[in-house]
């Protein structure tokens, strides 16, 4: 874990309000462990916004890290105004990683909204390791998609309104592929309702599943105790000292679906 002043290589809008930024961050890369990890970004506007903003690592290679972010509020808006050549201060790499995807499973990668970046990262890792997999990407409508529906190559898009890819939520294709494949393993990141549905499904059908969750973070490094999620399995001991809660920043953001609970 280190703080690095990273050079912005590029910063471009890839879909409506969704931006991709590449950073020259050799320090982060030197400690990087795998997809699921995130960085904590500081936008220097004096102390107007005291807290850093957590962003998943969407790719990490050749000394470069990328993030994909959506404009939500002040800080992401300021971020989108940065130009290549500017610097930003990043803290990372933080958090744990997806695991087991390379242990003879069939990974079903599921991403929705701003949960897509770590899933895209995991997809690259699967490709690199030549592991067959399917990726399912959910969105409300086609505006949010910046990847093409390509079922032949196991890339499945869904939209709530049917404006691109399959109509409906990600649950239909998940269920279909689970039934088609041997030793399926779900890896998902996305909005809470999506994660809740996947978790319910995985527990009911006994499908091994890892979820990367979000939480409001004060520090990203275990100091503030702000980023808790309820544990389901209170026996499981982790870095943080809690029984009932887990600190998403250091124990997560990736959890087995059976180990956590949503409110």
């Amino acid at each position: 874990m280190l703080i690095e002043r990273a050079h912005i290589i590029s910063n471009t809008e890839v879909a409506h309000n969704i931006w991709e930024m590449f950073l020259d961050a050799p320090g982060i890369i030197s400690e990087y462990k795998g997809s699921g990890q995130f960085i904590n970004i500081l936008v220097e506007d004096s102390w107007n916004h005291p807290l850093r903003r957590p962003m998943s690592i969407a790719s990490a290679k050749d000394g470069k890290v990328s993030i994909i972010y959506k404009i939500f509020g002040d800080v992401t808006r300021i971020l989108s105004k940065k130009k290549s050549g500017n610097d930003i201060e990043v803290l990372g790499p933080l958090g744990n990683t997806f695991t087991n995807w390379n242990n003879n499973y069939y990974p079903i990668l599921v991403g929705g909204g701003v949960g897509l970046p770590p899933i895209l990262n995991l997809k690259s890792e699967c490709e690199l390791s030549k592991i067959d997999h399917t990726i399912i990407i959910g969105a409300q409508n086609s505006n949010e998609h910046f990847i093409a529906h390509d079922p032949k190559n196991d890339i499945i898009l869904t939209t709530d309104d049917g404006s691109s890819g399959e109509s409906g939520t990600v649950m239909n294709p998940i269920d279909r592929i689970i039934k088609e494949k041997n030793r399926p393993y779900i890896f998902a990141c996305g909005p809470e309702p999506m994660l809740v549905a996947i978790r319910d499904y995985s527990l009911k059908n006994n499908i091994p599943t890892q979820l990367s969750v979000e939480s409001y973070m004060g520090c990203g490094v275990g100091l503030c105790q702000g980023c808790v999620i309820s544990k389901n399995n209170t026996d499981k001991k982790e870095n943080s000292y809690h029984e009932q809660y887990s600190l998403v920043c250091i124990d997560g953001p990736v959890y087995e679906s059976k180990d956590i609970q949503f409110e």
Binding site: L2, P50, Y216, Q225, V228, E263
Partner: protein, 306 residues
Amino acid sequence: MSNLEVSIGNITFKNPIWVASGTFGYGTEAPDLIDVNKLGAIVTKSITREPREGNPPPRIVETPSGMINSIGLANIGVKKYIKEMLPIYEDLSTKIIMNIAGTDIDEYIEILELMENQSSSITGYEINISCPNVNKGGMEFGIDCDMTAKLTEELRSRTDRLIIMKLSPNVSDIVSIGKASQDSGADAVSAINTVVGMSINANTGKSNIFTTYGGLSGPAIKPIGLAAVNKLYKDLSIPIIGMGGIVSSTDVAEYILAGSTSVQVGTANFRNPGTGEDLIDMIDTYVADSNWKSLVEMIGKVEIHN
């Protein structure tokens, strides 16, 4: 390095830059990002008798130049603190101040006694009195002079280590609470704890904090902290440990000029856990570049107009 040493009670601290309770865990969480041994002191997270899970999320939200937290005193409890933390502290060369919280006077006493029955390198205790007292209908210790005096006395009679009463800003008259602490034997007071605040998401209509109200900290409250410290300085004779919104060396200088003997860095640690270490070098430069001979000379020397 100019002389940054400060004294509180009979203890000398190598510099006045401490990290604030609840913002630096147990001092062991961010070793990659800071050399904790450089710090004047680490004030550890509030410890209660039993371990506490703390409040459900959301526990934290950003506000203009600040943040609100409602962690709910999540902590490992005094027994685990003794067993797991004290051995670690033996190997540190910075001073450790243990912050204690309780829901009635007995709880504070019991924790202190457990600690005093123990050999340890702890330098002293900071007493968090912004806690609801279950025996007084949830009224905070820190808003009542008599309760504060009683608590201070009970603790004073049981230890020779430093006792620092940590004052709440959510009171009509912080000076009277400070005086009650002083008159009952506290070695110092620290101020301020967080300011009661609320945050609402106008889009969803929801409270951004599970417990509705939480504690405001960060640069937004610096003026409130400075006023509290300066008022206390004018009326008290024991040292004051200032905090609230310190993020830069000018903030440190302002708190010292207002009357702080040492300062604590809180929220700034979340942005950069190395802030304390950075500030030590920066305040050193500040003193060297100024007309002050030492940092101690600056304490309380704000020039006022009237």
